[in-house]
Symmetry: C2
């Protein structure tokens, strides 16, 4: 794979940041790869793992002369980070990110960037419930989607460079309008996570003996929710706070539907339950057909 | 493995029934193994797969002289089935089942059985989202729990025989009071399934283009729910109708908690969200420690 950038700076060397660093190292995509990371343990770990050339605590030093800067911290940190790095970005640099919400990124980061910097927000649809630099792996993005949401008018050459990076990681790139991204992800990702967190939270409020039995017999369905509900707390807090409108809208639909199910159970309306249960089976088949299962 | 029964009759040769049949055949646990099955295609398939000695449509013929009769059909069919087989059960026969609710089984089946028959309801905590005799496999119960809920005073020897069957299948058996079973499973299994069915149902109501994108980007969380929501519709309809009180009780707790999350998102209360998200991570670790992950 040919070198794509002279210098890349990844801000935050957690699960996603460190996975991307591994891709860049593996394929020699950058002449120099550094991370800007506030956690000294993560900095030490990144060097120990050999996935970056330098792990830096100072924003100016990290991003200076970088052709590509990628934000890979919780979305709630973006505004402060952008303010910190903006004065030190070189003309023609590309700023991207890996956050799970995109309208808030346009809102928080866009206005802070110099006019001679290209802004190409992104969202790799990949990840596990694990966190931190040791949890990363280069194959994380293989066969997955990556959505880019460049603002209208972003230079094609800058977008193409970010596309090339994600294609090197093994992803298929889709360009999308940021608001549309946020509505789609509210359904496919944010609502499922909210519900998983809630049901596991409901179980943690049970008395101790019952809670132990829930853990013991979790293979009957509950277990599948706990994996999702083990995702990074700060990252997910920031997602919900920054995609509020879309999440509340789809949550409203969900609670209406749940209330209808509750009523059908209370009144013994088996036909209504069965009708929904048959419809949902078809969706599973569509996902298998789309090779996303 | 030594023979446990002279004749076993499995009623319903679906996913669970056919898996248990495979165990009984593999280990030679029965002198003769038959299935009572109303679906002619399933009868033909069971014979073709060689997992039973006979596939029978007549209740009297199927259960006569059987030492063990296991109901493995949706719970809603049990009352009619029990009425149909009761006159033909031999003295000393054991009647068991594999249903996911247990109070309703005591209610629907118990009163119909002759006094000289032993009743040992059971629930293997195992299964996949697939249905039918071809979806079964002998290893399904390996390393899983099986809960038995014999009514107070059931002969120990009869319970021990059913325990031996499930231990041969590789399961660990737990004896539990039926009402307690139903409350625990309402949390670990019935509520998660109801929620998964509902959220996937919510997605099926979206306009077509959005629905296609939900399928495309389902790997971001939604996908995990669709597997559960592909479970057998009739089986699950009957579970909800027959564990109504316990499901409605835990659903009420869940909706209260979800409303609190909704409010925290609306008012931007990040601390409340993060606190719940941290608690739920601990539950995941407990499940991993309990080797149920």
């Amino acid at each position: 794979m040919a070198k794509l950038f002279d210098k890349v700076a990844i801000i935050g060397i957690g699960h996603i940041g460190s996975s991307l660093a591994r891709v860049i190292k593996r394929d020699g995509l950058a002449g120099r790869l550094v991370t800007l990371e506030s956690d000294p343990e993560h900095r030490a770990k990144a060097i120990e793992l050999g996935i970056v050339d330098a792990a830096i605590a100072d924003a100016a030093e990290a991003v200076q002369e970088a052709d590509l800067v990628i934000l890979a911290t919780p979305v709630g940190t973006y505004a402060d980070l952008a303010a910190g790095i903006a004065p030190h970005l070189k003309a023609g640099a590309i700023v991207s990110d890996v956050g799970s919400v995109k309208m808030a990124v346009l809102r928080d980061v866009g206005p802070l960037l110099p006019a001679d910097v290209f802004f190409v927000p992104g969202h790799p649809i990949a990840g596990t419930e694990h966190s931190g630099p040791t949890a990363g792996f280069a194959e994380l993005f293989q066969g997955r989607w990556c959505i880019l949401t460049p603002p209208a008018g972003t230079a094609r050459a800058a977008v193409d460079k970010v596309v090339a990076l994600w294609e090197a990681a093994g992803s298929t790139v889709e360009i999308m309008e940021a608001g549309h991204h946020d509505r789609v992800l509210a359904i496919t990702s944010h609502l499922p996570h909210l519900i998983a967190y809630t049901i596991v939270g409901t179980a943690t409020d049970l008395e101790t003996t019952l809670q132990q039995e829930v853990i013991k017999f979790s293979a009957s369905g509950f277990r599948d929710f706990t994996r999702i509900a083990a995702s990074d707390p700060v990252m997910w807090r920031d997602i919900f706070l920054n995609n509020r409108e879309a999440v509340l809208e789809v949550l409203q639909r969900f609670t209406e539907d749940l209330t209808a199910m509750q009523r059908a159970i209370r009144w013994g309306e088996g036909d209504k339950l069965e009708e929904v249960f048959r419809r949902t089976r078809a969706i599973r088949r569509s996902i298998i057909d789309a090779k996303q299962a």
